[in-house]
């Protein structure tokens, strides 16, 4: 199903939050393309702009936030849609799953009714029986018995609630799902269950997914492509296995090293971290924003601006050490 127009095409996206002293540029020019059924992993740490990016795609950011660039969904710009059209697109084309499953569900409403509400709002006139049937189907799809529709959120465990949220996100058969840290608060075993569910949904329905987390190893195992963000920009991207196995950007290398490979002696009694903290988006360092923390930094790094340069087949990295960098290191 590879038409001319990709399912999602983000061009030069900027997100700037209004603040008393000085505006905060959280996303500073991001480009993303996603085909039908494709999965993209977006990695990065707190404050790198990954959640702001997700929020911008659905226009969920607080009022007063400046969002520029284009978010083309089937060629249509989400950023300029009229409210009515936007409401129709959310849920039916684009849906999002957040991390805090505890707080997203309404505690005093049965979970089945919450899913049913989404269905009724988006296809008015659906009969009660039909809605109930669809709710049951959705719950079973995410691996819960249909009778759980009668439960309140507090009667479900964390993993079950996360499943309900995924079911809710899928209620109107979206084509693109954005999963923002969907498994971070969950236990290892439940995390594996949820990841397998997402993989299964991609295969069965051709659902495209943008998967956001700081755990690079999780992304490498579920996503075909990987993009790493730092200080509001993508600093490396490419096929996930290549990026994870042989990172080009020193930041990606640090992220990959943070999660040890069990059994690999290189990690035994040798936790790897990255000294320093991410930069304040209001006061970004000159040149490459990563240079103050970079173990491979040379003098040029503090003055020459970097951009995504070619770094092997299907890969790019914003580092002057990248193979395709025009700047002599």
């Amino acid at each position: 199903m590879s038409g001319q127009v990709p399912l999602l095409s983000v061009r030069d996206l900027h997100v700037t939050y209004a603040a008393a002293e000085r505006p905060v540029p959280a996303v500073r020019g991001v480009d993303i393309e996603l085909e039908v059924g494709e999965t993209l992993g977006l990695a990065g740490e707190s404050g790198c702009g990954k959640s702001s990016l997700a929020g911008a795609l659905l226009r969920l950011l607080p009022g007063g936030t400046e969002v520029t660039g284009e978010v083309l969904l089937d060629g249509e710009d989400v950023l300029t849609m009229k409210p009515g059209r936007l409401r129709a697109v959310r849920w039916t084309d684009l849906a999002i799953v957040f991390q805090g499953a505890l707080h997203t569900l309404n505690p005093v409403q049965r979970v089945g009714d919450q899913i049913g509400e989404a269905i009724r709002l988006h296809s008015k006139g659906t009969s009660h029986a039909k809605v109930r049937e669809r709710v049951g189907e959705l719950l079973e799809l995410v691996g819960l018995p249909a009778r759980r529709a009668r439960d309140y959120p507090h009667q479900l465990s964390g993993g079950q609630r996360q499943r309900v949220l995924i079911g809710l996100a899928l209620a109107c058969e979206p084509r693109l799902l954005i999963a923002d840290e969907p498994t971070t608060a969950l236990d290892v075993m439940v995390q594996a269950q949820v990841l397998r569910l997402l993989e299964d949904l991609q295969e069965r329905f051709g659902l495209a997914t943008i998967f956001i987390t700081h755990d690079l190893s999780t992304l490498a195992s579920v996503c075909r492509r990987l993009a790493v963000m730092y200080a509001g920009r993508i600093v490396e991207q490419g096929p996930s296995h290549d990026v994870f196995a042989a990172p080009t950007h020193p930041y990606t290398r640090a992220l990959a090293g943070a999660f040890p490979v069990i059994g690999d002696q290189a990690f035994r009694m040798a936790p790897a971290g990255l000294p320093g903290d991410p930069p304040d988006p209001r006061h970004l360092p000159e040149g490459c924003p990563f240079h103050p923390r970079c173990p491979a930094a040379v003098e040029t790094c503090s003055s020459v601006p970097v951009e995504l340069w070619p770094a092997g087949p299907g890969r790019a990295a914003a580092c002057i050490h990248a193979p395709g960098s025009p700047v002599p290191a």
């Binding site: 236990d187 594996a192 700081h214 755990d215 190893s217 936790p271 971290g273 903290d277």
Partner: protein, 318 residues
């Protein structure tokens, strides 16, 4: 390794903790025997609800056990006020969320000095605090004295917590998920700090976690807990390279990097401590029972009826 007489830093024997509830009594810790030595990092791993945090809390004296006892350096933990205060000087605990653990309206200096005052440590308070901060990697320490928690990063906050614990010169540090709320790059820094402290001070650290990678990164030994019991225990390399208990194997198989292992995703979540199954407590979720392997080995009946006590707690191993 079992208890080495008087050399053990921590000995837990026959420990049971129960919580009464509307739907029956939860046997959160259901008979745990466990020892560790000074200068050792032990990872206590298991799913949510397996009782690992309750076990940690009873080691700290924050939870009174129904049966069994906790000994630190041969001395049995008692629950009088004085005894508990002394215990909490030699055993310190740090938690998952450093932001919640710090008082937002207290400076870093006050946060670290609090323990020093409570326990009336001798010496110049300012020097003690400064040394604690710099040992935890916050240098120069004076720069942090007048700062508030919101002015420093998450990783620095966890360092402040560690400094506050270490100024009391404890012999045991219990760390409950110390890095799971931290970013990837900071995680390694905090783990490296823990390794450094063990080497410098011969403290023993018990890390409660669900993260097996963390165990590979820093732990000398691993103890795997399931439904209130330790089911397998041993040196980290042995347990993580050739696990013998099917539960340990399943936990390992879902770690994303271990591609060569076939994933064994156990269905459901950690079961209910108010209804611990008879026989082997793992049998309703055990891949050996489900696949018929247990029947083949002729042990299925025992799995359903007989509680395995020796470690690894699995009938198929023997």
């Amino acid at each position: 390794m079992s208890a080495e007489g008087n050399g053990a830093l921590l000995e837990v024997s026959g420990l049971k903790v129960e919580f009464p509830g509307r739907h029956g009594t939860a046997r959160a810790v259901d008979g745990v025997d466990f020892t560790m030595k000074s200068g050792e990092i032990v990872a206590l791993v298991g799913e949510s609800g397996c009782g690992k945090t309750t076990l940690a809390r009873s080691i700290m004296g924050l939870q009174r056990p129904l049966a069994g006892e906790v000994r630190v350096r041969g001395e049995t933990l008692r629950y009088g006020r004085r005894a508990l205060r002394d215990h909490r000087r030699s055993a310190q605990m740090i938690f998952q969320d450093p932001t919640g653990a710090l008082n937002a309206r207290q400076t870093i200096y006050e946060a670290v000095a609090e323990g020093v005052r409570i326990h009336r440590l001798p010496g110049n308070e300012e020097e003690v605090v400064a040394e604690g901060l710099s040992r935890a990697g916050l240098r120069p320490p004076e720069r942090f004295f007048t700062r508030y928690p919101y002015e420093i990063s998450g990783g620095q906050r966890q360092r402040v917590i560690i400094a506050g614990a270490m100024v009391l010169n404890p012999s045991l540090l219990v760390a409950d998920e110390p890095v799971s709320s931290l970013d990837a790059s900071i995680r390694g820094e905090i783990l490296a700090l823990m390794l450094k402290l063990v080497r410098e001070t011969q403290i023993g650290i018990l890390v409660v976690t669900h993260d097996l990678g963390l165990a590979w990164n820093v732990a000398d030994r691993v103890a795997v807990m399931y439904l209130g019991r330790i089911v397998e225990e041993g040196p980290t390399e042995e347990i993580l390279s050739s696990p013998r208990h099917p539960y340990t194997r399943a936990l390992l198989s879902v770690v994303p990097e271990i591609a060569q292992m076939e994933q064994q995703i156990l269905s459901g979540e950690a079961p209910d401590p108010t209804r611990i199954p008879s026989g082997c407590r793992f049998h309703p979720r055990c891949p050996l029972v489900e696949s018929g392997k247990a029947a083949e080995l002729g042990i299925e009946e025992r799995c359903r009826t007989e509680d395995p006590v020796e470690l690894p707690a699995c009938h198929a191993v023997r």
